[in-house]
């Protein structure tokens, strides 16, 4: 255990390290500017637990209906030697009829050990790569690994397909619908970056056996229910952009030391559990520790990070909490209070228009606030003026609506 790992272990405390999976790795790209998140992820901190204990449980949950639908759909397309999937692959990859091999890597000789499965996955893939297509077509439940910040994460793609004279294709099975050829762009994006994680891991696995990266296609195959039915449809997704994003984020994680150096030596998120594992640390104390690491909260975090409610509370009164666009439009000024002071407090309810605005209130302290102040004062003046224009050109009066 080198210095960095020891440091991360101390930060994590006695809790078990959260192992990464494709989703958490993909999530690294969602707010790379956030030191708090970077440190917690690198240390394998159980963010949901920490957030909940600090009094801000994550707003995420999943409906068991969605879960059931997802599992059922995957089971359906993989049933009977992945018969439905094979039909799709024959269309999309032009698989010749003889290539109908199906290998279940879910366990090895009745043994579900991850290491065994990983070893066997590598063996079968290498054999397929060396063969002429007669040694494997579909590999179900393959097990890959990817190094994330010094630790290995085991990854389980839905399926890997091998195409004669061609390449390995990562197949991702999702249960959101593709209706008239289109699906929810955010869900597809999530699937794309997860698939990219598998492509990276797959290339690593093959590289160990001196098989070039090109053997893994950057076109992954997304399988979804078609329209309103449960019949599967496939679409190819080019994940080249996602691959560059991931490489970038993984290399940042590897450079976590730069962040750690900025943190107090004793920092830990340990809950100090007693014999029964009941935490003895006070939530307030934990919260204080969390605040030692800077966060970069933006409202987008609300859908991507388990710490979001904690950080949002912390960010109250910051323009960032109003959204990236608002912060930009407010001249990049950090705090709402500053904004209002610079704006000359005009526009606050009841405040008379121009007088206050044009007044000397809010003389900017830092030079770089001068321009923002100018902009905000003008905005405040215009707003106040408009709000106090007596006759807005109202056509039809309220009730019998215009």
């Amino acid at each position: 255990m080198n210095g960095t790992e020891a440091r991360l272990a101390r930060i994590r405390g006695r809790a078990l390290a959260k192992t990464h999976n494709a989703r958490t790795i993909a999530a690294l790209a969602s707010n790379p500017g956030c030191a708090r998140r970077a440190v917690m992820d690198a240390a394998g901190v159980d963010k949901p637990r920490i957030a909940a204990y600090a009094g801000f449980p994550a707003p995420f949950g999943q409906s068991r209906f969605a879960l059931a639908r997802g599992n059922a759909f995957e089971a359906q397309v993989k049933a009977n030697g992945a018969a439905e999937l094979l039909t799709l692959l024959r269309e999309h990859l032009g698989l010749p009829i003889p290539q109908a091999h199906y290998d279940d890597l879910g366990e090895v000789g009745g043994n579900p050990s991850l290491d065994l499965r990983h070893a066997r996955t590598k063996a079968l893939l290498a054999r397929a790569a060396a063969s002429r297509g007669d040694a494997g077509t579909m590999f179900d439940h393959p097990l890959l690994r990817l190094q994330v910040g010094g630790r290995y994460a085991f990854l389980e793609p839905d399926l890997i397909a091998f195409q004669l004279h061609g390449r390995f294709h990562v197949v991702e099975i999702k249960s959101f619908a593709v209706i008239d050829g289109q699906a929810d762009g955010d869900k597809v994006a999530a699937a794309a970056i997860q698939s990219a994680v598998y492509v990276l891991a797959l290339r690593d696995a093959l590289a160990e056996q001196h098989i070039p990266a090109e053997a893994v296609s950057h076109e992954t195959i997304l399988v979804c229910p078609k329209d309103f039915s449960s019949r599967p449809a496939a679409a190819a997704i080019d994940v080249r952009k996602q691959l560059t994003v991931l490489r970038r984020q993984l290399s940042r994680i590897a450079r976590i030391d730069d962040l750690l150096d900025l943190l107090p030596a004793g920092l830990t998120f340990d809950l100090d559990p007693d014999g029964e594992g009941v935490p003895r640390r006070s939530p307030a104390d934990l919260a204080a520790a969390i605040r030692q690491v800077d966060a970069a909260y933006v409202p987008e975090c609300l859908s991507t990070c388990e710490m979001c409610y904690f950080c949002r509370e912390e960010a109250r009164g910051c323009t960032a909490a109003l959204g990236r666009a608002a912060r930009e439009e407010l001249g990049g000024v950090e705090h709402v209070a500053t904004v209002l002071r610079l704006a000359g407090a005009a526009g606050t309810p009841g405040a008379p228009g121009g007088t206050v605005a044009s007044g000397t209130a809010g003389t900017p302290d830092a030079p770089d606030l001068a321009e923002a102040a100018e902009l905000l004062r003008r905005a405040a003046r215009l707003r106040a003026e408009a709000l106090h224009t007596d006759a807005p050109r109202a056509g039809t009066p309220g009730r019998e609506a215009g």
């Binding site: 997802g70 407010l330 405040a380 807005p392």
Partner: protein, 498 residues
């Protein structure tokens, strides 16, 4: 968004309640809108779970699908919803009026209006329309005639919702967020409860507190269509299981009991949103309507009339997706409408105009000099070209030769002749043409007088003609050639609804 609205957000944070970003209402709110609050089953595409719908705040209709994965029950739901929606729509097919400016043309005197809680509600409506409008009413997989008809109307509403000029279908969160700025982010504004919390907090509560309360899914169920996962897992799942169990047991009474219990559970998720919707309607009615709102609603009436007659004449349902020509034509229409609406909003509303002034696209000031009788004899014939000088504190992007328009005299063009800036004030000389009558002396009041306070914008609300497009059957080779004529396919009709 603009610096002005962002500033309003900042003010809202400090004030603890939302701030207005408009002085007038820019959408039409009908006398009897149909409020539609749908819930969907998690994990499935457009699988209806329940809905509350109606035009009477006191008497909503509750629709429930006891087993959403059962195709027949879904179509039963669609038929029930059709009963509500179609009856409401037909209510507007009675009275007609003459279409102004068009000979012997009549249109319906008013149009229906569909209100849903949020954009996701519109998307769900579109899906529901898509999944029902191609259904066959005879042969295999037959459904009641009302089902495909419902699909066509829902599709019509959802498509109109794409136009910034239309009020035929609106999402409450969009409407409210367009008129008020809260102390939270646009992402959080998508939560109807939180948004209303900021705009109209319960007595003794700040907007922030009300919004926080609205985020607790147990006390304030989400406005749908997605339900709260803990509700799915802890309540809904058990209720559905009870229904299924009773049916498998073949026990009619137990089945009815379980069904009623399920309906009640779902009602608890719908009622709060139903109330919020009508609060939103009341708040918007409280604002005076902008001047151009009625004209835009007239266009909505035309669209409604056109579609109603198209359906009546046995026209085909809307295709799955636009063809090349239809897409291009629709885009052109949307672009024209978008510019028109932006201008109209600014002309109707000084607060909106202020955003353009801040952006340098408009200015307001006082007339300091005027030559109302100035005549230009340079050309072949003498023409009336008055000039006025406007002094403003704004900083417009006013280049010589650019043409501006004034809300007060939309028919009149003002060309910038000279611009001089001094001491934070800008003097702008404008040459006027049009809107002054035929003769060489302007009609009284048609030229701004000295001392009058005026505003001018770099855009007008004038109407531009639609560009010409080829007929679909003349689609050129660059765009895939003529499309195959549309024939409803069996596949569309039978497409199983998993």
């Amino acid at each position: 968004m603009s610096t002005l609205t962002s500033l309003a957000r900042a003010v809202a944070v400090a004030a603890g309640t939302a701030q207005r970003t408009c002085t007038v209402r820019h959408v039409h709110v009908g006398a009897r809108p149909l409020v539609f609050v749908p819930l969907a089953l998690a994990g499935e595409a457009g699988a209806p779970l329940a809905a509350m719908a109606g035009a009477d705040p006191q008497a909503p209709t509750l629709l429930v699908v006891a087993e959403p994965r059962d195709r027949d029950q879904r179509f039963a739901f669609a038929a029930d919803l059709a009963a509500v929606v179609l009856r409401y729509v037909e209510g507007y097919l009675a009275a007609e009026e003459d279409t102004p400016g068009r000979e012997q043309a009549t249109r319906y005197a008013d149009a229906p209006q569909l209100l849903v809680p949020n954009p996701a509600g519109i998307a769900f409506t579109r899906l529901l329309g898509r999944s029902t409008r191609f259904r066959r009413t005879e042969g295999p997989y037959a459904v009641p005639a009302s089902v495909p008809l419902l699909g066509r109307w829902l599709t019509f509403f959802a498509e109109r919702a794409e136009s910034p000029a239309s009020s035929l279908m609106l999402a409450a969160t969009d409407m409210l967020a367009a008129h008020w700025a809260t102390g939270q982010s646009p992402v959080e504004d998508l939560n109807l409860g939180a948004l209303l919390g900021w705009i109209d907090p319960p007595p003794g509560m700040s907007g922030a507190q009300a919004a926080a309360m609205a985020e607790d899914p147990v006390r304030c169920p989400p406005a749908g269509p997605a339900t709260d996962p803990t509700f799915d897992n802890e309540v809904l799942d058990q209720r559905m299981l009870a229904v299924r169990t009773a049916r498998l047991a073949g026990d009619g009474r137990a089945y009815e009991r379980a069904r009623a219990a399920l309906a009640e559970a779902l009602a608890t998720q719908l009622r709060p949103t139903w109330a919020l919707m009508w609060r939103a309607v009341a708040l918007l009615r409280g604002l005076p309507g902008g001047e151009h709102v009625r004209a835009r609603w007239d266009a909505d009436k035309d669209a409604f009339t056109w579609h109603a007659r198209h359906v009546a004449a046995g026209g085909p349902p809307q295709p799955r997706r636009d063809g090349a020509v239809a897409a291009a034509r629709r885009l052109a229409g949307l672009e024209r409408v978008q510019e028109m609406v932006a201008a109209q909003r600014a002309f109707d509303d000084p607060l909106v105009m202020a955003e353009h002034r801040l952006a340098g696209e408009a200015f307001a000031g006082t007339v300091t000099a005027a030559e109302p009788d100035r005549v230009d004899r340079g050309g072949p014939r003498a023409v009336l070209r008055p000039r006025i000088t406007v002094e403003t504190g704004d900083e417009p992007r006013a280049d010589r030769g650019a043409t501006f328009t004034s809300p007060a005299r939309p028919g009149q063009q003002a060309r910038i002749v000279a611009v001089t800036a001094a001491g934070g004030r800008t003097r702008i000389v404008l040459e006027l043409r049009g809107g002054m009558g035929r003769s060489l002396t302007p009609q009284p009041g048609s030229v701004p007088a000295v001392g009058e306070s005026v505003s001018y914008a770099a855009f007008g609300d004038g109407y531009q003609p639609a560009p010409a497009f080829p007929a679909p059957e003349d689609t050129p080779w660059t765009h895939g050639g003529p499309p195959a004529p549309y024939v409803p396919s069996d596949e569309e009709a039978r497409e199983d609804w998993s």
